[in-house]
Amino acid sequence: MTTPRIEIDEVTKYFGDKLVLDRVSLSVSPHEVVCLIGASGSGKSTLLRCVNRLVEHDYGTIRLDGVPVDDPSFGKTGLQRRAGIVFQSYNLFPHMSVLDNITLAPRKVHGVPRAEAEARGREVLARFAMDRFATAYPEQLSGGQQQRVAIARALMTKPDVLLLDEITAALDPELVGEVLAIIRGLKDEGMTMMIVTHEMAFARDCADRVAFLDGGMILEEGPPAQIFESPQEDRTRAFLQRIISAGRL
């Protein structure tokens, strides 16, 4: 069996006295797409942020291609280069043009010359039909366009893993599709992804595996058909019932 790309082993995290992740284990194979679902506060975003060390976990181990994420061999920026993240609120830098936003890390962190970084930047933007907006500022773009730029920014360093943290939750409904289409495209190219999402239709359609988190634990995981059609746990059933009655599935 091949080494999992991401291997989360008995990870526990406290915020102060509050237990947010309770001995979570999960592994993601190369080219696999795993969706994390669950109510707000169930710990799914925290788990995602532990993978690229935006949040430091307290116990357990997270490995990327077999190497613990806090291993010195990653150096100061190796982990960030190999695991890109996209946030719910885009978090683009408002004082920089689109092109400067996506070339900032290659230029300042990885020492790529400006001309080279910008050439690659335009290439990535073109893939997402955003090359027309290279010199625009984030506030001039729609939410969907901003999120496409944020995805481009995360892809600039050619990461092995993409972490997506509710990336459509802040979007107007008619803009959700254009962002999800990009994620499907990345899946088809074989990108390994961990996706926190409330879009159950997308999870059912796009995920190889779905994990349901509740109270900081993975209560149930399996192929989407199993989780959505015949959930084993009462709490999973209750959660999906709430989603269905809210008209989201």
């Binding site: 935006l54 100061k76 978090n91 900032l104 300042k108």
Partner: protein, 285 residues
């Protein structure tokens, strides 16, 4: 929508209403007349007071004003020079203080503590006291290698005091930058220092421009404090004239010069604040 409705199309836009002079004339006339009446009554009440001729002679004596003007203006030029020099030093030094206070790395703790103490001390002591202490006290030490002029050390006192306030303004701007910006920068691999320089500070500085403008106006007036240590600024020159003639019109001249400089700046500050608020409203919409 019915087919019939679509075929007829929407009604034409309503006619534009031009500026209606007749409708505006009466209210404008009323406000003009009431301004004239109120200010006229005030002016008449003041000038018809028994003491008015003496007040005019002492404070608004045109001959005395004309005689004092060249010296006061010369002094005011000193004010402007000191103001701009001190301002540049304050803006730079306060930025250093604010950044040191905002960096979160643990080994920075002693420097953060130093900045907190610095701000507590220099914000808590009257500027006038600092000007006296530095302007008179330090030159008396005749420190080797450092200038001995009261002007220099008085300026240092202004910088020390004002930078404490300005550092806090900068810091409020730094704190107001959304936490998501730090998360984004960190996730891209930027160091804390790079995050500050490339992501946080440009936004923070833009946030605090209106607040800084008020400090700029206040500083312009407070430069006059240096007159107490013998710097021959506008106030000092006016005082010298007063001392030899017992006429206070020279101080009114100095006051007029200050107003000439501060009022446009206050308007500029208001305008910047309004523009900034409009920008924020637009962003949050």
């Amino acid at each position: 929508m019915s087919v019939d409705k679509a075929r007829r199309g929407p009604p034409p836009p309503p006619p534009r209403r031009g500026f209606d002079w007749r409708a505006a004339a009466l209210p404008s006339a009323i406000s003009a007349i009431s301004v004239i009446v109120v200010f006229g009554a005030l002016g008449w009440a003041i000038t018809s007071a028994d003491e008015w001729p003496r007040i005019r002679l002492q404070f608004f004596n045109l001959d005395a004003m004309a005689a004092a003007f060249p010296r006061v203006l010369q002094g005011f030029w000193i004010n402007i020079q000191v103001w701009l020099t001190v301002l540049a030093a304050i803006l730079a030094w306060a930025l250093v203080l604010a950044v040191v206070r905002s960096l979160r790395a643990p080994w920075f703790a002693p420097f953060r503590l130093m900045v907190v103490l610095y701000i507590d001390i220099f914000r808590g002591v009257p500027v006038l006291l600092l000007v006296l202490l530095f302007g008179f006290g330090v030159p008396a030490l005749t420190l080797p290698g450092l200038p001995n002029s009261g002007l220099f050390w008085g300026g240092i006192a202004m910088v020390l005091s004002y930078s404490a306030y300005v550092a806090e303004i900068y810091r409020s701007g730094i704190d107001a930058v959304h936490e998501g910006q730090r998360a984004a920068a960190k996730s891209l691999g930027l160091s804390e220092w790079q995050t500050m320089i490339h992501a946080i500070l440009p936004q923070a500085l833009r946030n605090v421009v209106p607040a800084l403008m008020n400090i700029v106006v206040a500083l312009q007036k407070d430069v006059a404090l240096l007159s107490v240590i013998g710097v021959r600024d506008a106030v000092r020159e006016a005082q010298i004239y007063t001392a030899s003639t017992f006429n206070y019109s020279s101080l009114i001249v100095a006051a007029g010069l200050f107003l000439l400089a501060t009022i446009p700046m206050a308007r500029l500050a208001d305008w910047l604040t309004r523009r900034d608020r409009a920008r924020r409203l637009q962003l949050s919409a």
